[in-house]
Amino acid sequence: MKEDVVCGMKVKEDTPYKSEFQGKTFYFCNAGCKTEFDKNPIKYSRR
């Protein structure tokens, strides 16, 4: 299980909502969290 860095929920790696940032994959529980991450990846990738 991975952690959605935007909302803190546990998500499975096969979630359709993913983003790449600085060579690392981030997993999200829904499209809203992914959009929020993509708007400001530095902020969330450091959480």
Binding site: G8, N40, I42, K43, R47
Partner: protein, 689 residues
Amino acid sequence: MFVPESSDLFVEKDGQKYYFCSQACMDKFLSPEAESGKIKRKLVVAWVFTIPIMIVQYGFPGILFHNLIELLLSIPVMAYSGSLFYKGAYHSIKMHTGNMDLLVSMGTLTAFFFSAYLTFFTFYGSSVYFDAAAFIITLILTGNYIETVTKERANSSARKLETLLPDVAHKLAGDGSETEIKPDDIEVGDIILVRPGEIVSCDGKVVEGKSEVDQSVITGEQDPVLRGEGDMVVSGTRNLNGILKIRAEKPGKNSTINEVYRLIQSASMGRVKVQRIADVFSSIFIPVVLAVAFSSSLFWYFYLVSTGFIYPWEIAILVFVSVVVIACPCAIGLAGPITLLISSNISSQNGIIVKNSGSFDRLAKATTIVFDKTGTLTMPDPVVENVLPEEGISYEDIVTMAASLEKYSDHPIAKAIVSLSQDKKIKLKTANEIKEIPGLGIMGNVEGKKIQVSRSTKAGITGITISVDGKDMGHILLSYRIRDSAFAAISSLKSMGKKVSMVTGDSEDQAKRIAQTLGIEDVHWGAMPADKSEIIRQYQESGEYVVFVGDGINDSVALETADVGISMGSGLDIARESGDIILLNNDLNHVVYSVIIGAKTISKVKQNIGWAIGYNSVLLPVAAGALVPLTGLYIYSLLPILAALAMGMSSTSVVLNSLRLNGKIRRSLSPYGWNAASKPNKTQASPAH
């Protein structure tokens, strides 16, 4: 502790799903008072029967039917007091996970049934361990009770808010008649009468009356504020000395006091990053403990059989009981939540509302604090600094002309001019054909003359020019005053090694003037809301952790972009405010306090988790028999009881260590005027120029 989403123990509240590791945890969440009463009853029964068991076991070991008496005395402790743990263990097995209840249940039931077997089926003088089973339950319940009472006390400020609303409100009908209704029954638009000494029952606008209002419960500020017609008053505040009639705007669940209560609760139930360590530890811990318990138990059995020891089963079972009891992970589970609960309560008592507890993590890492200017470092509205009439024109004439037109505008400059005319008791004239041109000013006819008021901000000076029939009559100069607290706050942040920056949409001159006065070297001017956000992003790209302090409504983009957004709340509309933290009073020293509270909270959570993990790591080998070479097997006649004692102590020590956070935060903040913060000066601003 970590709970899989497959758990059937969950509650949906405020659109969020909460999962629980045990029935006891869920009951505690749903009804903390009832749960506390239940634990207390179980605890009393546990002590009432455990003390006689200890007396029989150690005071009268030779008494007739010794074992049977202990068995009978331990039944109420096991069946009634211990049922709390068995229910939790049952749910934990159902969801294929382990929890503290499972370990306690395995330990106590093993000791009880093994002793019962010895009582009825052995004829040699074997010892029984009813005392261990009962004492483990009693001590762990005592630990739980101390934890519950501590949480209730720590939560008292939030609960104080909830119980603060009056039982009745006085609703006024159109004919002026008064009826008593419950605050929950107030509807938007109702006119509510609030007499001196009464608590305001809903958020609303004053439609009649003038009075001083004590807002300390919401903002932390002790000095009352004057509220009159057109001003907002919020629920939970106390009307001191006049009668107020209020038109309800946000009654019931939407009122400020309910919103503050909800935010404190959700912050204290939140999580910080360092708790992930505790999660990982908890999820692997139970299987490891069970493996250690079984393997060490078997090891001692076979080893003792090989040495010809006559009671190998007894020692093997005592090893098992000691290991599972000593390793209960409840201190690890407590480490984060109890600290966050205490922190969010200390903050809220002083008007710092933490909307998102994850911001404690980022506050602890903050390197750069970026301030918005207008409304943050300076007051949101300008005040008149100087009135400059042309030759032959009086002070009164110029203010009359300007205010007679400006009273039709909502512009902050217009409000400052009208306020001046009211202060000087200058009578205004009737104006007609009013026309306001956004960004330029207002014009109209007064006594047949065409008057124009032009607003301008040039070379850092905000002002208006008044002309009659095209001829200049004079100027009025205004300024945005710097908040008194800005000087101390910026100097404190710099002394803590933080970089301080200012961003503003104002001109270069105006921005530099304020920055220079405050000692801020890094200034960005002419910034639109999107630019502010871009500036923050650039800091983040260069590796800085950015806290942005701004207006909760106008600066929402920048507040969201920053690692931590602190909004200067109006204290009236928390739900609309963006950001992770809201300052309910406008004292900028609270930015300093927030940064310090964040750092102290995270350090305390780390310390607690370290203690809890360290404690388990050291004592587990002791329970498994590491000390037997030094003490001999005799240690096992006491170890189950010592394990229970240590278990209760570990939770209690985590709770007590967290309580020390209160004093630690106060001591850390006192050099920065923490005590003074709750009693700010009545004069909140000083001139910028």
